[in-house]
Symmetry: C2
Subunit: 120 residues, 2 copies
């Protein structure tokens, strides 16, 4: 079984995670056969490792981690690969892969442009 982890930065204010909860809910509605978990780099739970552990306990064998970040700075270029490698070492039976940040996707950027245009 494959699964997806939506990986965000995290923040002190718990309300910050609302769009992430909404993303997970949208995923469940539209892709019910593929489990989804949220994970956060800092200040929020679960961590990436905790999310992988949870999916592992559900029998998941392949996980795609999607960085829900706009830009690819130090967090994604430095911190994230280290975390991912540590998870891979801890769960060698799971095939862990990752994607570029969602901010690299033209359709995501276009949706932001369209939202901005409607706001004018």
């Amino acid at each position: 079984m494959k699964a997806i982890i939506l990986f965000g930065h995290g923040a002190r204010d718990s309300r910050w995670r609302e769009p992430f909860d909404r993303l997970a809910e949208l995923w469940r509605q539209q892709h019910a056969a593929t489990p989804v978990a949220l994970a956060f780099l800092e200040m929020m739970q679960p961590s990436l490792e905790e999310a992988v552990a949870s999916l592992n306990s559900q029998g998941v064998k392949r996980i795609t981690v999607v960085p829900v970040f706009f830009g690819q700075g130090g967090h994604l270029r430095n911190d994230f690969p280290v975390l991912l490698e540590a998870c891979q070492k801890q769960y060698p039976q799971i095939a862990l892969s990752t994607t570029p940040a969602v901010g690299e996707d033209l359709a995501v950027l276009q949706a932001i442009i369209d939202f901005s245009a409607r706001a004018l």
Copy 2:
């Protein structure tokens, strides 16, 4: 004349801003009549105040500031209103308005879901 400011967090790594530069370019291609500026909360230039100053010097009279953030945490709930109010006081001749964070928009979230589904 009205204009738009795409307001992001900023980061130490200059490559972080690439999606923001791409957003501004998309905007210019699609909405050439409405000037666009980027602005950043921290670690990158220009600041919100610098962006407003630049648009003011171009004769802009109305500015919509779009927070290109996923979640609405301390930065948007606390720091951003203070910055915005300071800009408004400094440029009383400009009508400054703002929108919710782009992460509040269902179409933006759906684009992230679609990107994630294609990556599986």
